[in-house]
Every structure is written in structure tokens, then in C-alpha cells.
Amino acid sequence: MTEEQRSDADLLAAHVAGDPEAFGVLFGRHRDRLWAVALRTLGDPEDAADALQDAMISAFRRASSWRGEAAVTTWLHRVVVNACLDRVRHEKIRTADPLPDDLETRLRSPERSPADPAAVAVADERRDLVLAALAELPAEQRAALVLVDMEGYPVAEVALMLDCAVGTVKSRCARGRARLALLLGVLREGGDTPAPGNPPAAPGVPSTDPSRAPPGVQPA
């Protein structure tokens, strides 16, 4: 059986047993998706790369802590998310900073040339809006939304990744969506996908001045 044919669990066990190549094969299988999670959770590519590196080191050294109670991929995601949240908690990054102006330029895959530049521009602008809004959320809510709504993992699996109850994941997602809906203008748009560009003008603020009484009538 080649390395490519070995299961994740087999590779992790082989790594713990001393196989020097097993972990590289295992991590290489999943690192694209782990990268996506780290990038969307932290927002900044450099921070995401640091977190992914921290996570890889942690997983490499703590592989023996995996007991098989969850899938290896779940465990890897848990390590990555923990590394991301650790960076936020320890203020290694300033989460209050806005996303960099050139974020999408840096993230956009160059090989995906636009078929319709106008449509792509609109899609990119929408994505910018979503990413900027996502950056406003608390890190735990952001991680839950990235895993559940972006990556499409089942809530139960995300609960294992985040080491919390299923209800907690649902709550974080719901609160995060509610906040995003406000930030993205979904509430104004009546449930439709947020549109790029300036939001419609807010309704006028009613006057707080007392109404004028007809001439000759004394106000009460």
C-alpha cells in the first residue's frame, strides 16, 4: 500500500510510531482546506500562515494525543482553529484593524481569469463586504461561521472542532449571522443577498420639535 492509499488514521499512527514521512503526507492532504479556514478566521494572509505553521507544529508534536474519538481531519481543524483563536486572544494580531485594502488582490487566485469582468467585479465587491463584516465579529463567532457556513461542516463536527457543545455552535452561528445581516444590510434588503455599493439612504429622522398650534390657540 502506498502512502497515498493509507488512511488518515493510519498515517497519524505511523507518525507516532516514528515514520518520518507520514505526517507530511497527512498534512499535505488537508492543508489547502486548513489554510482556507485559517485565512477566513484571521483575515490576514500573514497571520493565517503563522497560525497554520503553529498548528502544524502543534499537531506534529501532539499527535499522540489523538485518541480516535473524532476523525483525524476534525482533530486537525481543531488544532488550526485553536491556533487561530490563540493568536487573537494573545493579541498577536489586532482584530480591530480593518481588512487591508488589497486583501482580495492578495488572495485572488491569478489563474482564475474573469470570464465577465463586470460580473466578477460585482462578486469581488460582495466578497469584500462579507469579509469586512466578518472581521467585525468576535473570533469565536467568526470561527463557527467559517466552519459551518463557509466550509459546510456539520454542526456536530464543528462542535468537536471548537471543543464546545452543539448548542453553543448553533448559538454562535445564529448570533454571528444576525450581526452580519445588520452589517451587510440584509435586513434592509428584505432577505436578499447584500448588494455592493452605498446602502440606500436611511429614512428621515422625525422632528422632535413640538407641533405648532393653530394661530390664536395657546399650546397646552
Binding site: D19, F23, I57, R126, D149, G152, R175, V186
Partner: protein, 257 residues
């Protein structure tokens, strides 16, 4: 209405938000520079584990020869290096050889690497031809002075963040292996590698420091940030590393104890 209250959203609104999130999913592969960095880090981890006698264990001692990285990763490493090396090849035509610095790139391993004929396409054979004792191999496999976990911790304590290996030297040597015609210096001529390296390592926002090292010294270069500024860490045997500001200036010795 509270924006924190989940009950605020209708099912349609919830679906709209979820749809927007799905559309913002990042689906591009891991960038090559990050992949290269992870590969180098992994090589160091494996080296530590090998020195420690068991995978998964941390070791702070000298690193030992380690396994090659996955073969299919090598072309990616070279591809990532290509952009830098293009500058380097041009640089060899311009630089006065008398200006070369005595860096480790004149080491035997590198010289052997440049003499071996290789394919013009970066592939496994090209890398294999470098030999087990080439400087490229030493750099990538961590048999140079690669930072240990404890040393990384010491650097973090000194305020050095985002410490990562740089593929600069890999770029220089890999390109050399792929373009042997560029290395035509005879035995009575100075090796072109030092000045080649001098140019190859230039980056728009960072410049490799000019080193005056004894023959046979093998520095390893890392990038890092200190007080928000980019620095190059030069790692040599000893209890400290030297941190060179990317914008130039005197190095700062950083203790590793």
C-alpha cells in the same frame, strides 16, 4: 430590536447571510510561498524528532540528516524560486566579481551542484542531481544551523515575530542547478555563486546583508519582524543570531539562550 438576537432573522434572511458566506469561501490552494515555508518547518520538525530519537518528540540539540520532503513538493519549491532566480541570473552579468562576499555559497556542495548537468525543467531529477551533501539539501533538510524550538522561543521572548525560513538560498542554488551554462567559471576563476547570490536574494522590500564569513560557514537565513520592522536573521553556530534590518543598518545580536 437587538442585533444580537438570533430571532431577529427570518429564514430568508438567514439563508441570505449563509449564501453570502458561502460565496466568500476561499477555495484557492495554499500559496506556494506558504507551502514552501511549511515544508521547511516540517523538515526542521522531522530533524528535531530524528535527533530526539522518536517522531513527535521535541529536541533542542543539533539537527541530524533527515528524510527528503515529499518528492512532488520539490517542483513547487523550484517554481516558487524561479521568479527570484530570474533576477539573479541577470545579476551575474552585472556584478563585479571582486565585490563578492565570502558567504557559504562557495561551498563544495554548491559547486558540485552547478557542475552536474540537469534538466532545464525543475523536476525531481534536477534536485536529486544536487547530491545529498549539497548546500541546497542542507538548507532544505535542516542540516545547516536551523533554529530549534527553544531558540524560536528565545527569539519570541526578544520580540521577534513571524520567524520563517526564506527560500532565497534555495532559489539561488536551484536555479544554478537548472542552468549549468550560467556557471562557466573555471578552476582559476572566482566562483560566480557569491555575486550570483548577492543579486538573487534581493527582494523589493528586503535585502540580504553582505556577510564576511569564514570559508565553510553555513548561515541560514530567516525572515522575521521586530517592532513592526522586517529583519533578516542570520543563523550561524553559536549562542546568538544576528538580526539585520531589511532597510539596511548594523545588525543586532540576539541571544538564543
Amino acid at each position: 430590536m437587538s442585533s444580537e438576537d438570533p430571532a431577529d432573522l427570518t429564514p430568508a434572511q438567514t439563508e441570505a447571510v449563509r449564501r453570502a458566506l458561502r460565496a466568500a469561501r476561499h477555495d484557492a490552494p495554499l500559496p506556494e510561498d506558504v507551502a514552501t515555508r511549511l515544508d521547511a518547518t516540517l523538515a526542521g520538525l522531522v530533524a528535531d524528532a530524528a535527533a530526539d530519537g522518536a517522531a513527535g518528540g521535541a529536541a533542542d540539540g543539533d539537527v541530524a540528516p533527515v528524510l527528503p520532503l515529499r518528492r512532488r513538493r520539490w517542483p513547487a519549491v523550484l517554481a516558487a524560486a524561479a521568479a527570484v532566480t530570474a533576477i539573479g541570473l541577470a545579476g551575474t552579468q552585472l556584478v563585479d566579481r571582486s565585490d563578492r562576499h565570502a558567504s557559504s555559497l562557495s561551498a563544495d556542495g554548491a559547486s558540485r551542484a552547478e557542475q552536474r548537468p540537469t534538466s532545464a525543467t525543475p523536476d525531481d531529477d534536477a534536485l536529486d542531481s544536487l547530491g545529498d551533501d549539497s548546500l541546497l539539501n542542507r538548507q532544505l533538510n535542516g542540516t545547516g544551523q536551523q533554529l530549534t524550538a527553544a531558540q524560536r522561543g528565545a527569539l519570541a521572548d526578544e520580540g521577534y515575530r513571524r520567524v520563517r525560513p526564506t527560500p532565497w538560498l534555495v532559489a539561488a542554488l536551484a536555479s544554478k542547478a537548472r542552468a549549468p551554462e550560467a556557471a562557466t567559471a573555471g578552476s582559476d576563476s572566482p566562483s560566480p555563486l557569491p555575486e550570483y547570490d548577492q543579486k538573487a536574494v534581493q527582494q523589493p522590500d528586503c535585502e540580504l546583508p553582505v556577510l564576511h564569513l569564514p570559508e565553510g560557514a553555513f548561515p541560514t537565513y530567516y525572515l522575521a519582524r521586530h517592532d513592526g520592522e522586517r529583519v533578516v536573521l542570520v543563523v550561524l553556530p553559536g549562542p546568538q543570531v544576528s538580526a539585520y534590518p531589511c532597510g539596511g543598518g548594523d545588525p543586532t545580536p540576539v541571544p538564543l539562550d
